[in-house]
């Protein structure tokens, strides 16, 4: 299974790679630093799954997801977000992405989320988060 990782911070991308490296059936086929690059690499590499940060320069993760949905409607997208926000999870669902994990819990949930999305199931946090007063980024 080939996975494209999109996050503007290399430390986060390397962290995701480190988690995925425990799986022999998964290969990171590409990395992107912004939303525009994600769209380009998605269309070129045609990965089996895209792991996508929301807050990225040039084009946000949500905007990139909207575009990718048009050209690659069957490729599952997993949002990797700093925000534990019900509103953002709702927005992600509206765009049509299949999963959402928060960066604070990614260590324990990423592989489970990846497995589910590769089986064309969905993965969203069960608990409802309070609305955020301000936006943080990593």
């Amino acid at each position: 299974m080939r996975i494209l990782i999109a996050d503007d911070h290399e430390a986060v991308r390397k962290g995701v790679c480190a988690i995925l490296s425990s799986r022999s059936d998964v290969e990171v086929c590409g990395e992107a630093e912004n939303g525009k690059e994600t769209i380009e690499k998605a269309n070129t590499l045609k990965p089996d799954l895209i792991i996508l940060d929301i807050t990225m320069p040039v084009l946000s993760g949500f905007e990139a997801a909207r575009e990718i949905r048009k050209t690659l409607p069957k490729v599952p997208i997993l949002i990797l977000s700093m925000h534990e926000s019900t509103q953002l999870i709702g927005e992600a669902k509206k765009i049509g992405v299949q999963g959402y994990v928060t960066k604070t819990q990614v260590g324990s949930t990423l592989l489970e989320a990846v497995d589910k999305l590769l089986r064309y199931e969905t993965f969203f946090p069960e608990r409802v988060f309070p609305p955020e007063s301000a936006v943080q980024t990593v």
Binding site: H9, E10, K14, A18, K103, T104, Q105, G107, S108, V138
Partner: protein
Amino acid sequence: MKLFFQSGFFPQSPRFKQFRPEHRFGAGRSGHAGWFNAHISAITVLDAELSLVLERLGLAVDKPSGGSELKSVRPRGDAMQILVADDHDIVRRGLKQLLNSRPGWEVCAEASTGREAVALAEQLRPKVVVMDISMPELNGLEAARKILKILPKTEIVILTLHFSDQLVREILASGARGYIMKSDADRDLVAAVEAVSNHRSYFTARAADMVLNGFNAGSHAPDPGTVLRNRLTPREREIVQLLAEGKSSKEVAVSLNISVKTAETHRANIMRKLELHSVSELVRYAVKNQIIEA
């Protein structure tokens, strides 16, 4: 070589309970320790009790990450020891991978709060600490001050999300010699650790420019917030963060192992020194001065 030990590997006997480092890898049988350090790069431990035993053997045990029960243990060899502190597991993993990929460097432990970073630094005495500025319980700047007080030869690189000349000054005042943006970590992290490990300073070009411009423009006079903050003692600065994170005086007392009365006295002194009148004002002050994130 990597070893994988599971529960039951060692005999669960009374004698085992008295197991001491010198029995296996200590000076009395130095050949074992030498062989271990030369041949084993990591051990994955699947059992909490066993990890404690390995700690007693003098091996560094990483804390479990992301809720996993696994702990990785590394022998202490000749590699330069680096402690990584960030409240995000995913960032710690990434930093660890970036740093461990350099020959002769080894991330000896990870911390998820400033307080944990201080404790691990004291225990493991790393040469370099790479630390996020925004961490719960004790932020990176206060943790840096505490670490440098205990280990003045340890060098510290601070990672931040945000950028301001005031922040650069705060970082300089904390004693850290390195300051890089998280977004520039791929480009600057290795260079920063390399520089500080040779006791040289490393600031990203943007930070260096900003400080220089600030000084050239004569804007190096501290802002009123800094003047007020400088009135606080290190203990009071710690308590500002805990209160701003929503802890009560009782919770502060438990967290710092002090009496509730002492915590309340500190709280009253803080409010007086900072000229604040309510907790909401204290939270605003903490956010404005980047003691906590909004």
